[in-house]
């Protein structure tokens, strides 16, 4: 709409502005010059310099939090032997710092499991619902931290029904579980009426592996190699066998003997097989919890149990036992 023009009433007069006040930039002028700079100053956006300042502030705060967490972790480390970092520390850090984990992950699945033929490598475990394999659940959660694992639970037709906690023991379904080829490893747990737990992986090249101890060894080797010192490796193996055959299946006299041996071993070293956490500790913790004899043990064992729980890997096992 065109209007008639009016000549400016007052010519350009220079005005003396008082100097006792602080100057504000001209709002209107700013708007005219805004086409080149970031004109998106509406809607609560801030000046880039302010933004930079905020970013630096956030960075400092983050570092402070990290330091705080590290200090807390160190405090816990004093009580928990040989844990690099506590679970609270590892959860607050970003996920790509996997080197903080206890196990130096061997990501070379091809070397361990054979050449990738372009399809999901599926580990099938047949377990009896009367004896749920806690060790394997713990190892499964560790596997999930290192690889992309597709976990599924099935009920075989030889079993008429299983309690619901056994159906959800591997955790919630992955969002991408409809696309099997996107995963590196498959973990299929089938609740079946079998006398002994068994695992099948490659029909052509491997015979089935029987027994929770042996399957645990297989899965553990996907996470970390056995200790290179053969004496320590043998020690680990023997403790695993003691856990499964004497503690779980043995008579009460056997069990008492084992607990005594356990107590004395733990008196000498923080973990069962020396200074490092190993498969033997996982096996013993699970067997003890399943037995329910966690309370009737000595001080050494109690301390060791607390350290295990501090590590936070035994969450799924504890959930199932509830």
């Amino acid at each position: 709409m065109s209007m008639y023009q009016v000549k400016p009433v007052s010519p350009d007069i220079k005005i003396d502005l008082p100097t006792c006040m602080y100057k504000l930039p001209n709002i209107h002028m700013r708007q005219e010059n805004s086409c080149s700079s970031d004109h998106a100053l509406q809607n609560g956006d801030v000046d880039p310099t302010v933004r930079a300042l905020e970013a630096r502030q956030d960075e400092i705060m983050r570092k402070l939090y990290e330091l705080k967490a590290a200090v807390e972790g160190l405090a816990k480390t004093v009580t928990t032997p040989d844990a690099d970092l506590d679970v609270t520390v590892s959860s607050s850090l970003s996920s790509k710092s996997s080197s903080c984990d206890i196990f130096k992950a061997t990501k070379n699945l091809d070397a361990l499991l054979g050449k990738d033929l372009g399809a999901l490598r599926d580990i099938v475990i047949n377990a009896n619902p009367a004896q749920p394999p806690l060790t394997l659940l713990v190892l499964h959660s560790l596997l999930c931290q290192h690889y992309r694992v597709l976990s599924t639970v099935h009920v075989h037709s030889s079993v008429s029904s299983v309690p619901p906690q056994l159906l959800s023991c591997l955790g919630p379904k992955h969002a991408d579980s409809y696309a099997r080829h996107m995963f590196q490893l498959g973990f299929t747990l089938i609740w079946k009426d079998v006398p002994k737990l068994e695992m099948k992986f490659s029909i052509r090249n491997m015979c089935p592996i029987e027994g929770e101890a042996n399957v645990a060894r297989f899965l553990f080797k996907l996470l970390a190699p056995y200790p290179s010192d053969p004496a320590v490796a043998t020690l680990v193996d023997s403790w695993v066998d003691i856990a499964f055959y004497q503690l779980a299946d043995g008579s009460s006299k056997d069990r008492a003997a084992v607990l005594r041996a356990l107590g004395s071993a733990l008196g000498r070293a923080p973990w069962l097989c020396g200074p490092e956490f190993s498969l033997a500790d996982i096996a013993f913790y699970c067997c003890l919890s399943q037995n329910g004899s966690t309370s009737a043990t000595g001080a050494n064992v109690q301390r060791w149990i607390k350290s295990c729980e501090n590590l936070g890997h035994f969450g799924p096992a504890k959930l199932l036992l509830k």
């Binding site: 033929l117 399809a119 047949n126 037709s157 099997r180």
Partner: protein, 580 residues
């Protein structure tokens, strides 16, 4: 005689001849005498039999049941006050046939008739209900004569009703005469008889019958429908397992004979069990889907254009032009989804004019088809279908064990195993498993039948399941209406389901966009004119949908572990068989 011939004088020959003639005459006389004796004896016997047959009215061949009278099955049934003439005529009829639970002996008066009519009912007991609880009761029953064997003064009969049979005995005594025993022994196999008998306990279990604790002592036996003496096949032979027959030299019946005389073959316990199980499958299918909110539809079988491909359709003359018999209800299922039925299933015949004479193909079979609209991913359809199949398997496992065991006696097989939720493998995984086993296959090749069987065995070894789904087939081997995979154009959103290594279902997400459908049809070089109405049905808003179909006979055959689909089809149709 020879000595005389050796001497050789003609005189002596004549003498010999006359002697021979004499001897001949003597012999003939002897024969005649013997014959006369025999006849006299027979006549005497006849007389004696006629005289001694005190049980004459307790056995015989009944007049053909032309609905002469109505016998209520329970005493409390309201038969209604009959008129006197009606009572009299039926009483006469009863006396003639020896029917009625009262004894109508000698003279009868109207009063007598009326009294007998008070008990004008006959409750026929089922053979399966003959348990020790019925001991010392007098019951009537109608069954087939499975076998009859006379042994001196007794005749053992085995009476059969579907899958149950019971031993029955006619013994000479105060209820039965010799002639009655003879009559019972001569009843042809498979005849239908009405029997009144006392239920008696047995000390030793009768192993060969289904009712092992009791036997019947027959007081009255009447033949309702006589069977011809020469049967085209014997039921014991039809039930014998194949392995046994070869060893002992006893016959088994081969399939063609069975199919030609299907009426008799279907009477065997095995056939009865198979078809009861099949009925169970159909019922479980309907029940499970109805519970999931599916609607049953009926689709037309006379159609104007071939749905799957031109080669395998039957043509029928349709007034002045011709039409085809539907190869599958595919088109109509999809139209129902576009018509907002959301979830449909249909049970009906499917006609495939394939000249394949294999153990698993029929030209006409019963198709159980499912189609449903889904929200975001076609795996919703797979989950629904596999859950239905698992419910069917569970229902069969829990409710039809007797039938499964009966079939197993003649056709032994491993019990059917499955996982819940159903195992789903991808095509690439299957290829990897097959390649590991030494099979050479291209990435986009279809699975041949031997490869499917090998894959079934590999899956069974690894996962111990007879039922699994193979997902993401290559696009090149699927029909034009299959939706391609969104990320990899080589593959498609299609799946097959296998039981015991043989394919039972082929399904996919369907293309619901008319544009894409036209493109895919052109790519497969299909004449667009022929499928115009099919493409048109998607032009007015079509939801994403998918589904699949199974064959009832094939599912039963594979569930029971049988080897030929004709065993699970009552009157099978194949390129070489059109009757019965």
């Amino acid at each position: 005689m020879t000595k005389e011939e050796a001497n050789g004088a003609t005189e002596e020959e004549q003498q010999a001849q006359s002697k021979k003639a004499l001897k001949k005459q003597q012999k003939e006389a002897e024969k005649a005498a013997k014959k006369a004796e025999k006849q006299a004896k027979l006549a005497a016997e006849q007389q004696s039999t006629d005289e001694d047959d005190f049980a004459k009215d307790r056995y015989g061949v009944s007049a053909m049941v032309q609905s002469q009278q109505k016998l209520a099955s329970v005493a409390t049934d309201k038969v209604g006050p009959p008129s006197l003439t009606c009572m009299l005529s039926s009483a006469i009829g009863m006396k003639r046939e020896g029917l009625g639970s009262g004894r109508v002996d000698g003279e009868f008066s109207a009063k007598g008739a009326a009294l007998s009519l008070v008990s004008l009912h006959r409750a026929l007991v089922r053979v399966e209900d003959l348990t020790p609880q019925k001991v010392d009761q007098l019951i009537w029953l109608r069954a087939r004569v499975h076998t009859s064997r006379a042994k001196g003064k007794q005749c053992f009969l085995v009476l059969r009703q579907q899958q149950f049979n019971v031993q029955a005995l006619v013994a000479v005594g105060d209820r039965a005469s010799k002639q009655m025993v003879k009559f019972a022994a001569n009843i042809t196999k498979e005849s239908i008889v009405d029997v009144e008998a006392m239920v008696r306990k047995v000390e030793q279990k009768i192993e060969s019958c289904s009712q092992q604790d009791v036997e019947l002592h027959i007081e009255r036996i009447f033949v309702i429908s006589q069977a011809e003496p020469r049967l085209p096949l014997q039921l014991e032979d039809a039930v014998r397992p194949d392995g046994d027959g070869e060893e002992e030299g006893r016959a088994t019946v081969n399939q063609d004979t069975r199919l030609d005389n299907r009426v008799i073959d279907l009477r065997t316990t095995t056939s009865q069990a198979i078809f009861r199980l099949q009925s169970g499958v159909c019922q479980l299918f309907r029940d499970t889907l109805t519970k999931k909110g599916f609607v049953e539809i009926q689709t037309p079988k006379i159609i104007s254009a071939a749905s799957e491909g031109g080669a395998n359709v039957f043509t029928v003359s349709y007034f002045k032009s011709s039409a085809y018999l539907a190869q599958s209800p595919q088109l109509y299922k999809q139209m129902c989804i576009c018509a907002d039925f959301d979830k449909v299933f249909c049970v009906g015949p499917v006609f495939r004019a394939e000249d394949s004479n294999t153990h698993r193909h029929l030209t006409e079979f019963v198709g159980l088809d499912i189609e449903m609209a889904f929200n975001y991913h076609y795996h919703e359809v797979i989950d629904s279908i596999t859950d239905t199949m698992v419910q069917i398997f569970k229902g069969l496992r829990d409710n039809f064990q007797t039938e499964i065991q009966t079939v197993n006696k003649q056709f032994p097989s491993e019990p059917f195993k499955f996982l819940e939720p159903t195992l789903r493998l991808e095509y690439t995984e299957a290829l990897a498993m097959l390649r590991e086993a030494g099979v050479e296959m291209g990435d986009e090749d279809d699975l041949s039948t031997p490869n499917e069987k090998l894959l079934g065995r590999l899956v069974k070894e690894k996962y111990d399941t007879d039922f699994y789904v193979l997902d993401k087939y290559p696009l090149a081997v699927r029909p034009f209406y299959t939706m391609p995979d969104p990320n990899n154009p080589k593959y498609s959103n299609s799946y097959d389901m296998f039981m015991r290594g043989e394919e039972i279902l082929s399904g996919a997400q369907r293309v619901h966009d008319p544009q894409l459908l036209t493109e895919r049809a052109l790519h497969h070089q299909i004449d667009l004119e022929k499928i115009k109405s099919y493409i048109d049905s998607f032009r007015y808003g079509a939801p994403p949908h998918g589904g699949g179909g199974i064959g009832l006979e094939r599912v039963c055959m594979l569930y029971l572990g049988l080897h030929n689909v004709r065993q699970t089809s009552m009157f099978p149709r194949d390129p070489k068989r059109l009757t019965p």
